[in-house]
Symmetry: C2
Subunit: 371 residues, 2 copies
């Protein structure tokens, strides 16, 4: 294998493969990036058996062939180069990374020992890249990172006619997004539970203008966009769908329409006064929402944010960081906060955005201190 | 006390006081910022008995007075505000931080329990702000951070006629800077050992155009600039001056004149190939310096950097991070590397810069692997 390519492109692509692979693997081959050069360019691929990523890039190929090297060191070396173009060439037991003034030689790993990167399952439909990106990045952070309850680390994904629905919850918050969906004719209906964290990482790679095809079979979910593809093993169902649906059946006692960024800034300022549990209090009043903190040591805070308030004027206590997480996907927009009685969740909505992504976020209040 | 001031100025100043104070103090009063408002403005001061900082800022004072509150929470609250102006007013047992829409109330600490901020000792001379800043920030990082050998955490500082000399070493590297010095008539000669870390932190606060006066007595060193002052307790002498002087008596066998940034970039790229001890090799050749890494696992690297080489063409092994530390103060300039025989240190020099700071950096090579 012998090729010349744009350094920045190869560096980014190799880093994307490296990021997908686990940090320390008992078998070094699984931490490798598999480079395949042919007349069409170069494919960079990686798989730790669970996930698989395959990215095709333009390259001037002097000699076709394959090479497997440790992904992270290659990514680090490429990222540090200041030459615009770089040559990757197999030299004996090494992959040489060459610029006019430098040579870095990385030991080749055994390509035959690599499990290969599985091809994505059949297509079930497609979404627009930017809508997918926004929806996944809004919903996925709500999933739990705690692997001891794997179903809560999942992103629930299903199609309903021409809408695709994404849902995640860690039991304290829940996020749901709907976006336009073009089902593939005669494909089976999409309905699955996928690992949220890796879907969010991959969603960041998808360009705004691209179309993302979703692929699924009973074992795996896949994505293809532009010249790239990704797939991963599904999580085992069942997801607590009924419980999630019940949470969404809200009885809102009062609402406040506020600028999401303004409330978030006030909550951030109140958080240091959040006391031992890091709580802030929202109190709805005429034309305003009051954000309060109170801590026996640090002191007190109160800030007033303009709001359009209607219905019941109540007081609700939240974990500050959960409330900030809930407001973040609405950044730059006005958000409607729907307050329910007691410890029933507060519902944040804003209607469809310019990408037709419709987001609903639920955050469970805390019992007020002293109750 | 009741005053109005520019939020950004108060936020920066309070953060500077907070940064000087230790993170956790058994006595909370020592973590406090003492605010004193009078007709001239507001003085923000802090002291943990060892260090003392006193910063005077413009303020519209509605009522004179004093207040002591925890420095870090006040700094955090001020930094997070988005109002241009902020009012600080004592309200009962609280210092209230007020903007048109918000109020934060921090508990007052007992001013009488605060040790006060010592006044700086007598003036011994002065330097230009930018030269001081550059010299301290170049030399201080070479001091050890390991408090078990306190003398190596010090910055040695002495005057020789119209030159001020700064020197620090952790025994593996040594940095020395000379800069123009205006001695105070009839003052005793400056010669002391001060804690390097805090001098570097304070040097960052000094403006380019300001004059810095140095103050000293047998116990403390002080700095005054613009409307601000700082002082700290000295470290106990003796510093190993003779040993330092012997190190500086170099017998250079060969030199290479190179662009400091270019060599540093090559060393950074070679570092991942630096093997178990993180070493890189420099080899002088005709018109170039070769930067090499070699690691049984990661592979090898070699990069060529243009250089003007004269004298003996040798090969020297360094700890990559020490070599990078040595090159950093010469950023943006050509540096002369003087190589000595065996394990005698390599001497980096560049002549006086535009601020007339003349820097000499010594870095001790490592024994080549396998010797």
């Amino acid at each position: 294998m012998d090729l010349t390519a744009t350094t920045a492109t190869l560096a980014t692509t190799t880093a994307q493969v490296a990021a997908l692979l686990p940090g320390r693997v008992p078998n070094p081959v699984l931490g490798g990036v598999l480079l395949t050069a042919d007349a069409h360019g170069v494919v960079l691929a990686g798989s730790d058996r669970e996930h698989g990523l395959r990215l095709t890039r333009t390259a001037l190929v002097h000699a076709e062939g394959r090479a497997l090297v440790a992904a992270k060191p290659l990514a680090e070396t490429l990222r540090a180069l200041d030459a615009d173009q770089v040559r990757l060439v197999v030299e004996g037991p090494r992959l040489a990374v060459r610029t006019p003034t430098a040579r870095f030689a990385l030991p080749l790993l055994d390509t035959d020992a690599h499990p290969g990167v599985p091809a994505p399952p059949p297509v079930t439909g497609s979404v627009r890249g930017e809508a997918w990106r926004r929806a996944v990045l809004a919903v996925a952070p709500t999933a739990s990172r705690d692997g001891t309850l794997p179903i809560f680390t999942g992103l629930r994904l299903w199609a309903e006619g021409d809408r695709l629905v994404l849902l995640a919850t860690d039991r304290y918050r829940m996020a749901m997004a709907e976006l336009p969906w073009r089902p593939e004719p005669n494909a089976s209906r999409l309905d699955l539970l996928a690992p949220a964290g890796v879907l969010a990482d991959v969603a960041k790679q998808v360009g705004r203008g691209e179309t993302v095809a979703l692929h699924a079979d009973p074992d795996r979910v896949g994505l293809t966009w532009a010249t790239d593809s990704f797939s991963t093993a599904l999580l085992a169902m069942p997801f607590p769908d009924d419980r999630a649906r019940r949470l969404l059946e809200s009885v809102v006692a009062g609402t406040a329409d506020v600028d999401a960024d303004t409330v978030a800034a006030a909550v951030r300022r109140a958080a240091p006064y959040g006391g031992p549990h890091g709580t802030v209090t929202l109190a709805a009043a005429d034309g305003e929402l009051r954000v309060r903190g109170n801590d026996p040591q640090a002191g007190e805070s109160e800030e007033t944010v303009k709001a359009t308030v209607s219905g019941h004027h109540g007081t609700t206590v939240y974990q500050a960081r959960y409330l900030l997480d809930a407001l973040r996907p609405f950044a730059g927009r006005s958000v409607r906060m729907g307050f329910q009685e007691g410890l029933r969740p507060t519902v944040l909505t804003a209607g469809p955005d310019e990408d037709e992504v419709d987001l609903t976020y639920l955050v469970v209040p805390m019992r007020p201190p002293g109750e």
